[in-house]
Point group: C2
Chain length 195, copies 2
């Protein structure tokens, strides 16, 4: 990973990222070579995986138990993911019946950090005529998720690619319910398990 990419993705400045990378390297969470970029150590990956586990479990909790909709969960889960208690998270997992996927279709690591790595393909990568099951979304912003709700597209919806417009990457897709024309941006964000 490059310093600038991290800064961009985190809404912070490159110099802050450099500072933090040094601290992560000190804690053995990342390898860092000045000017050459950084990468998580195995230790760092494990650590991150556990935070992802917590984030996604909390998202399931919010949707299943507290009637949140899938576009409302992210920011609250971002707070909850930092609560420190092994017992808390394992019991939460049990309460939710050990879910495998979060409300956006992303896999939830188990207590050992293992998770299913299903191959998912963006609609924009499909060949004309192929179809699949919506298994994940890339963008989880409220606006995008509400767009999907409006068009009755949700995880598990079967989608077929009818036409792919070479010029702008937009395409025509078909669900059980209707046909819909979507932009390349949307098509890049919808991940299918191809049938």
């Amino acid at each position: 990973m490059s310093t600038n990419d991290i800064a961009g993705g985190m809404n912070t400045k490159a110099s802050s990222v450099t500072d933090m990378l040094k601290k992560l390297a000190d804690k053995n969470l990342a390898e860092y070579i000045p000017y050459k970029g950084t990468r998580l150590t195995q230790n760092g990956i494990n650590c991150a995986t556990q935070i992802i586990r917590k984030h996604r479990l909390w998202e399931v909790f919010l949707v299943e138990k507290l009637d949140f909709s899938w576009d409302e969960v992210h920011e609250v889960a971002e707070q909850l993911e930092h609560i420190q208690s092994r017992k808390l998270i394992d019991e939460l997992d049990k309460l939710l019946n050990f879910p495998k996927y979060d409300p956006h279709g992303d896999p939830i690591p188990d207590a050992q950090g293992n998770y299913e790595k299903t191959v998912k393909t963006a609609i924009s990568q499909l060949e004309k005529g192929q179809s699949g099951i919506l298994a994940g979304v890339h963008d989880t912003s409220t606006r995008f998720l509400q767009y999907l709700d409006k068009h009755q597209i949700e995880l598990g919806t079967q989608i077929q690619l009818l036409e792919l417009e070479a010029f702008d990457g937009s395409c025509l897709i078909k669900t059980d319910l209707k046909e819909l024309h979507i932009s390349k941006t949307i098509a890049d964000n919808l991940y299918l398990k191809v049938l």
Copy 2:
């Protein structure tokens, strides 16, 4: 409240408390007169009440839904109480069926900040022969709560004061199950709703 009392109760130094009191005063959460002490404003009371609401609701959640025992909940609830989301807490309240008391018998404020103010009396304050229902504990340390568990004393247990030893304040009490001799420290920490 005096600065030193706050510092003592919070495991911090008096000078840190002074700093923070100024900040609270700036935010209109406390009145603060140098050298004279401090007191929460109505605003501050409301704010604190909502944090107490969150803390106690999370405690109920941990015990009822996640199989925590009452001596394990405090430190996790101390983290959870700072999660910011009105919807989260109101939905949690609903999930738990709007409980009135936390696992230690303390009342839970409702969304408007109202809570039951039952009169509770420490065993050490009772007259010989009086009895009541255990309605709260003062100390919530693990050691104390486990002591109670060991002697099968829990919220709702009916307790009668048989003897009060004037010399050391210790006393003999009787529950449904047995008689027990307890120190003044214990007697100060058990609060009854007197019958």
